[in-house]
């Protein structure tokens, strides 16, 4: 008899432990309070309340060491996955790279020639060289998931010179910009996020537009100044309008949409590993970075990091023109 009771008890303890025979551990009072707190937090998040932002940053900083530690065993798994994916289309990729290499050799000669001409003309009119952009390289420690945002968390923060508003790039192009910077972590809003709005120029004609993120993989190109001169495959660059981004950062290529034009980013948001944060100074940054006391404290640290970074290398690697 006891044996039977224990068997039943073990198989369905959730039903049988409580006095009512159904819901042990079900405390409606506490549940109501927690649900209320959740809804209140959700509401405050929607309003982008400063306390919620602070709380999020503090919690993220607490969890950052755990995420960094968890990345260590993940790395071999990711590499193996990438190798399998790469080996599947290795031959077609090789053919494509050969053709691209041939094409780029022609462009290399033209670029050297153009550079020489610009230098000569610059000397003639006495142009003072713009200083290059300093940068720091950071690792992505976590990706966003779920219906709300497209962002990534970096394992570096204000202690390393990060600041809200700084553009973030990788080898392929613009990734996004920092929107929240804590002491040791920073959150990057990706170009695909629904809140992302970037003034851009398209193609050789330099058609002005605004890149509108919509949480999809290919953001929309809106507010086009001219539609006739845009072609599928045209390169999309930052225009520098508004001062948040330097002019000339490559972002992606135009694709046709049934209703208009969209852009496929060169930087694949799902394959972010290491990214470079550009220490781009502009008056608009004062508006983007609202944490003034912390900023002034870390100003010296940022400058020292910036000095250590290889100035100008990012600009030349990523095709940045003078801001």
């Amino acid at each position: 008899m006891i044996q039977l009771r224990h068997d039943k008890y073990m198989r369905h303890p959730a039903r049988l432990q409580a006095g009512d025979g159904r819901a042990d551990g079900f405390r409606p009072g506490l549940l109501f309070v927690l649900v209320f707190v959740s809804i209140a937090l959700l509401f405050l998040s929607r309003l982008q309340h400063v306390y919620v932002t602070e709380l999020r940053l503090q919690l993220a900083e607490l969890m950052a060491p755990v995420l960094k530690a968890a990345l260590v065993p993940l790395e071999p798994i990711r590499r193996t996955g990438q190798r399998i994916a790469n080996s599947a289309d290795m031959f077609s990729e090789l053919d494509r790279l050969r053709a691209e290499n041939q094409r780029l050799r022609g462009w290399e000669w033209r670029a050297i020639e153009t550079e020489r001409k610009i230098e000569q003309l610059g000397r003639l009119v006495g142009v003072i060289d713009e200083p290059g952009l300093a940068f720091a390289t950071a690792r992505v420690v976590s990706d966003s998931s779920g219906p709300f945002v497209r962002s990534a968390m970096l394992g570096m923060g204000r202690e390393n010179g990060m600041r809200a508003g700084y553009p973030v790039i990788n080898a392929s192009g613009l990734v996004g910009r920092i929107v929240e910077a804590g002491a040791r972590v920073a959150r990057v809003l990706l170009v695909t996020d629904i809140n992302s709005r970037i003034p851009v120029q398209i193609g050789k004609a330099g058609v002005r537009a605004v890149l509108l993120g919509d949480n999809g993989s290919a953001p929309q190109l809106g507010y086009l100044s001219s539609v006739d001169t845009i072609e599928v495959g045209d390169e999309v660059f930052t225009s520098g309008t508004g001062g948040l981004f330097p002019r000339g950062l490559r972002i992606g290529a135009v694709i046709a949409d049934g209703l208009g034009f969209r852009m496929v980013p060169h930087a694949n948001p799902s394959e972010l590993d290491f990214v470079s944060v550009l220490f781009f100074q502009s008056p608009a940054l004062e508006l983007a970075d609202e944490d003034k006391p912390i900023r002034s404290r870390s100003e010296g640290q940022r400058d020292s990091v910036a000095r250590k970074a290889v100035a100008g290398a990012a600009a030349s690697d990523h095709g940045i023109s003078a801001p």
């Binding site: 369905h12 159904r22 959740s38 966003s144 219906p147």
Partner: protein, 171 residues
Amino acid sequence: MMRGPNRLVPGISVAVLTVVAALPWGLPSESRFFLPLLPFTAIHIWTLRCPRQMPEWLVFLAGLATDVLSHGPLGFWSLVLLLGRSLVLILPPPQDWGGAGRWFHFCATLLALALTQWVVASAYFMSWFEWSPLARSVFAASLAYPLIELLLRPFSRSWSRTLNPSLSRGA
């Protein structure tokens, strides 16, 4: 009632799955929707096994951590996971259902949670949210459930022995 270190197993398993869900796996954004549901698989398993070791506040904290790590608005996953736990407690699977029954129950709960996510996300954005990524996340999470249950089974067995030592002695 779990004793000693076993008492920590449910909380630790939920915490580990929360961290796993946040790591950059290289998946496209639309395919990452199922990752925050991974902690819920452990919550489902442990709420059925030992509800007292999976209290509301622990589920709330797991949700809050998921919110922070998934970069979503605070409170969203806390709300969804609390609802999930309540559903498991109020409408548990019938006693004579085995492992397949638990899996079926999990899938049904997931559907309810996906519907909640869709409603909350639509209200948050003030426009109808696209449902297809959520549907795919339900499918992916339902496939992950048997695997996670298999991984947690050794801990679950040790819990059973703690619960009823006489059975483990063969009494």
